[in-house]
Subunit: 233 residues, 2 copies
């Protein structure tokens, strides 16, 4: 049992595959071999090999040439890994002074080494948070997540006021850039203009200096917002 990661008995790789497949599945509806390979930075044949092992152990269902789906067991495992990841991110930022652009990498390694006990202790110390530092919902202990109800900034109509609620934790360069623009979670702004043909979007912050900033369409697509008025909680 060379690279096994403690009590759960699943290797680091196994956990990474399950987590990635879960994310692709919820984003794209299905997980293609090449998408998994891209996300994990491995070659496609490595994915085929692992998919074989994982479906042999009942963690996912594989239709050759068609893609992959998590089984019940696989999904539960993925959720546990995701919970560990997000609690870790929250803990590191809240208690140890990490910034939102540097936690991902650290959590990525720790999520395979921490025990469930440690995660629950951290969650307790944090008051059982519902969201990680990037706005992603933290799965509960029993494996349920709220699907976040957000609108891409790229789809917020001109004139509306919105609040930034969700960003991706993957690209730390991008996160640093967002921070430099003043785009932190919870910040409120109005959409001033939107150029056509997927052009840039201008926003004005609601808070005092009321600065304007221009963000590219691609970037705007990756920013999850809640429009003021559609607000639920």
């Amino acid at each position: 049992m060379s690279a096994l990661s403690r009590q759960r008995g699943l290797s680091r790789s196994t956990e990474d595959y399950l987590k990635t497949i879960y994310e692709l599945e919820t984003r794209d509806g299905a997980a293609q071999t090449s998408a998994i390979a891209d996300a994990l930075a491995v070659a496609p044949p490595s994915v085929s090999g692992m998919v074989k092992r994982l479906s042999d152990s009942g963690l996912l269902a594989h239709v050759p040439y068609r893609g992959v789906q998590l089984t019940q067991v696989g999904r539960r495992t993925a959720m546990r890994v995701l919970r560990r990841h997000r609690i870790l991110e929250k803990y590191l930022t809240a208690k140890l002074g990490y910034d939102w652009d540097s936690v991902h990498e650290e959590a990525e390694r720790l999520e395979h080494a921490v025990s469930d006990e440690l995660i629950e202790r951290m969650a307790m110390a944090l008051g059982n948070p519902e969201f990680d530092p990037h706005g992603a919902p933290i799965p509960t202990k029993d494996g349920t997540v709220a699907v976040p109800e957000v609108t891409s900034l790229s789809e917020v109509p001109v004139g509306e006021t919105a609040e930034l609620r969700l960003v991706s934790d993957k690209d730390s360069e991008l996160l640093r850039y967002l921070r430099s623009l003043g785009l932190r979670l919870g910040v409120v702004f109005e959409v001033v203009s939107r150029q056509p043909f997927r052009g840039p979007i201008t926003i004005r912050f609601a808070a005092p200096p009321q600065d304007e900033e221009v963000v590219g369409y691609e970037l705007a697509q990756s920013l999850g917002c809640v429009i003021r008025g559609d607000e639920v909680g």
Copy 2:
């Protein structure tokens, strides 16, 4: 590069071997193949194989059939792992409510996954502690450790008053038992009697109820004490 553990580029196994060899070297003067195998719960041929790899990478010097010694590089690496382990133990007990009998296992896994940055942040949050929860000195960032100046309880003369300063973190059963006897770090007691032929030792706690307890010789050997009067710091 299957099971490599992040930036340092050393696998989990590699780090475990180096740490174990360091501990054996300082305890027994040298590290025998079979002692390493015992400590890591692997078969002796596995040790021979790893020793080959490690000495090929310049982390230790191996004289066949004679044993093994860390090189400068190997020792520095071992110290970094040990620092990570002990800071983790201290952090988990001080900040997350772990007891001294349950931290070892957790730290054993985490020590291979945490970054040096995280360890330094934890150390900072703890006020740069010098000792872990079992009394073991924490190596500094530059790789130096104080050799603890303690006497086995088994060698404290009758009539002397001593303070418990150091216990092994390895056996959690034992640690629970010690706690149940009231034998925590810093506790002060007098040696009331010592039976001959490696027989049991009776102590009386200095603190109010002044209970007496009897501990076996073997156990007493593993308890590091400082005799009151010999006290330095």
